[in-house]
């Protein structure tokens, strides 16, 4: 028993954090939200270059093997920096393609996902696909089939402007029948949980910094107990979500993954509500960068499984 990240995993998180801090992600997010993908693609290449997507791709398809724990570590950092794009969906597509009965689609599509040369999205019929307008690989899941969708519909605005969702056109090349959706869903939920945890951690950090410097009645508002206790509760929620996320990555047990998903997303959302309240009116503006995390915390709650769906998995597990 040793439930701790090792030195390399912590160094990996640290190097991603440093790289993303230097990348000025807020301006990337704002461009992406307008449909200008140039900066986002450049950032995507750097994330891929750091090896993030290869963590979801087996070695025979030019990945580094499937390492869910390292992937979760990376997604916490991607969430912390509000990195835009179909991050979870690319990982989910990789999980799906890795486990098709026929290795040909994996051989054809996975190396480019691992290297960051292409992005992927994936959706079940009738559901939205994130960033369908930005990606080369659109996997459309229908009853017992996975197809390479030929195109996408118009972008449907999200409460998180950086999440540009589209429907996928029906038809297209049939890649496989009986796709392993349950496995793909585990990876989707795990990555979303880790991303949400990162979003929550960033919201907490930013709010702590704000209440330390914001002065009212002659003292920092962070010295008031009413403020402290809300932040303490956010800290408790996030610190108990963290071991669930890492534990789910270690076991990939469906109940563990569902528990991590609902808990991390709710912790992030609780933290978002606290962040909004403690920032006051400035937090309620689109122009202030806090909004990039606030809106994402709301969107991730229902992405790849609502709180109710996840809890249903837990009680049946």
């Amino acid at each position: 028993m040793r439930f701790l990240l090792d030195t390399e995993q912590r160094a990996f998180a640290g190097s991603l954090d440093a790289m993303l801090t230097a990348a000025d992600t807020p301006s990337v997010v704002r461009d992406w939200s307008r449909g200008d993908h140039a900066k986002g693609r450049a950032l995507w290449s750097r994330v891929a270059g750091a090896g993030v997507f290869a963590l979801a791709v087996p070695e025979e398809y030019e990945g580094v093997g499937r390492l869910p724990l390292d992937l979760a570590v990376a997604f916490v950092e991607l969430g912390r920096h509000a990195v835009p794009g179909p991050l979870v969906e690319t990982v989910t597509a990789a999980a799906l393609l890795s486990e098709l009965g026929d290795p040909a689609p994996a051989k054809r599509l996975l190396p480019a996902l691992a290297s960051g040369e292409s992005m992927a999205t994936v959706a079940r019929r009738g559901s939205y696909a994130l960033d369908g307008d930005a990606v080369a690989v659109r996997l459309s899941l229908t009853d017992g089939e996975v197809r390479l969708s030929p195109g996408h519909g118009p972008v449907r605005a999200s409460l998180d402007p950086a999440r540009r969702r589209t429907h996928l056109h029906p038809g297209g090349e049939l890649l496989a029948t009986a796709p392993p959706f349950a496995t793909a869903l585990l990876w989707a939920r795990l990555a979303t949980a880790a991303q949400a945890l990162g979003v929550g951690l960033a919201l907490l950090d930013r709010t702590v910094a704000y209440v330390r410097q914001r002065t009212q009645f002659g003292v920092p508002i962070g010295s008031f107990q009413a403020v402290k206790h809300r932040l303490a509760d956010a800290k408790v929620a996030l610190e108990f979500a963290r071991p669930l996320v890492l534990g789910a990555a270690a076991t990939l047990d469906p109940a563990d993954v569902a528990a991590a998903k609902v808990t991390a997303c709710e912790a992030a959302y609780t933290t978002a509500r606290t962040a909004l309240q403690l920032h006051g009116a400035i937090g309620y503006t689109a122009e202030y960068d806090l909004s990039l995390w606030l809106t994402k915390a709301r969107a991730l709650r229902t992405a790849w499984g609502t709180p109710g769906e996840c809890r249903a998995v837990v009680v049946s597990g």
């Binding site: 040793r2 439930f3 090792d6 010295s223 107990q225 071991p243 009680v315």
Partner: protein, 379 residues
């Protein structure tokens, strides 16, 4: 990262499970907070101790098995999964014993620990006073130097288990007028039956005498019952409370077992859809607490000192415990109001969680100031 127990720990688990299967009483013991129940729980401690299961984490010479924290966690999982009785010796085992291991003398350990392990001596804590609760350092009970020892005078209150316990431990002001209230305090052990001690039991919410007031009038305590240096009591008490509260005050095994019982209750009752999410949250919370504890234990095993993060732990389990019990009582419907169900006593006990061992308001102040770095302010 490795979430599996070693084969040796699993063998230990099997041994513990077999022993518990053979020994846990088929019928629950009477309430620990009654005279009859206290005696029954004391006898259970002796039964545990006879086969060295009462203090598995202690060294063998004091009746333990030298279990490290991971093995202790395994024991606790099995203990509560087996539905074994509450531990009447908990105060002594989880608060006084660690203090003695770190700050006591060899003579004190040899004298105090064996009878604690068997339940022959049950210990009560004597921290709070009528005017010193959250602001514990403002306590005024005195320890006055006398020939060969100290004379204790003053009033302690909310002293858990003291109605039926044998001895108590706590902090006393041995140097009046120090510049700061945390200075000049001494950590002492004393006999609850000594001349000058009056114990007045207090009924908790359900009327059972779960705690007591202690009136002390020049109670003579010999020097051998001072722990550490006189005047250093605050530092000594705090050095173990943070560490111990973080890991061992409430084991995950307790909540894993309670959440499983709750899920079973929900299933037996036909899987009420309105309660499903709360049952799920009980299962999730128990898993989160287990994994959080594994992480803390792993850091501790790697040589990291656990400090203020124990406050996260205290807030989490105390709020969690109440929510779990409220869900159980709601599921029971009108039976939930009854005072003698398998959930009623533990519900009443859970209500005290956010108050004792440092209120959750104090814990949130600690989280905000020491973990998040917010400025100190008025309480």
């Amino acid at each position: 990262m490795d979430l599996t127990n070693s084969p040796a720990d699993e063998a230990f688990r099997a041994e513990a499970r077999a022993w518990l299967d053979a020994h846990v009483p088929a019928e629950p013991l009477p309430s620990l907070e009654t005279e009859e129940g206290f005696a029954a729980h004391r006898a259970w401690e002796a039964e545990l101790a006879a086969d060295r299961w009462s203090v598995v984490s202690w060294p063998e010479e004091f009746g333990g098995r030298g279990a490290d924290v991971f093995r202790w966690l395994v024991f606790e999982e099995e203990y509560y999964a087996a539905g074994a009785p509450g531990r009447v010796g908990q105060n002594g085992i989880s608060l006084l014993a660690p203090t003695l291991f770190e700050h006591g003398t060899e003579e004190q350990r040899a004298r105090v620990l064996p009878s604690m392990a068997t339940g022959e001596t049950v210990w009560a804590q004597a921290w709070s006073e009528p005017e010193a609760g959250s602001d514990l350092a403002s306590l005024t009970s005195r320890a006055v130097r006398t020939d060969g020892g100290w004379l204790l005078s003053g009033q302690k209150t909310w002293s858990s288990r003291a109605a039926f316990a044998d001895r108590a431990f706590g902090l006393f002001r041995s140097e009046p007028g120090t510049p700061r209230p945390h200075q000049g305090l001494t950590y002492l052990m004393f006999d609850l039956h000594a001349p000058g001690v009056t114990v007045r039991p207090i009924g908790r919410l359900d009327g059972k005498p779960a705690f007591a007031e202690l009136f002390l009038d020049e109670v003579l305590v010999p020097d051998e019952d001072v722990i550490g240096e006189p005047g250093q009591g605050w530092r000594i008490a705090m050095s173990t409370t943070a560490e111990e509260r973080g890991l061992t005050l409430r084991s995950p095994g307790r909540f894993l077992a309670a959440a499983d019982r709750l899920a079973a209750l929900w299933r037996e009752g036909g899987e009420d859809p309105f309660t499903r999410d709360r049952v799920a949250d009980a299962l999730i919370g128990a898993r989160a607490y287990q994994l959080f504890t594994y992480a803390a234990a792993s850091r501790s095993a790697a040589g990291e000192r656990l400090g203020p993060e124990s406050s996260l732990n205290k807030v989490f389990w105390s709020e969690y415990d109440i929510a779990l019990h409220e869900t159980a009582l709601d599921l029971l419907g009108e039976e939930g109001e009854s005072a003698d169900t398998g959930w009623s006593e533990s519900y009443v006990f859970s209500l005290a969680g956010p108050v004792y061992a440092g209120t959750n308001e104090i814990q949130r102040d600690i989280i905000a100031e020491r973990l998040l770095g917010l400025p100190r302010g008025r309480r």
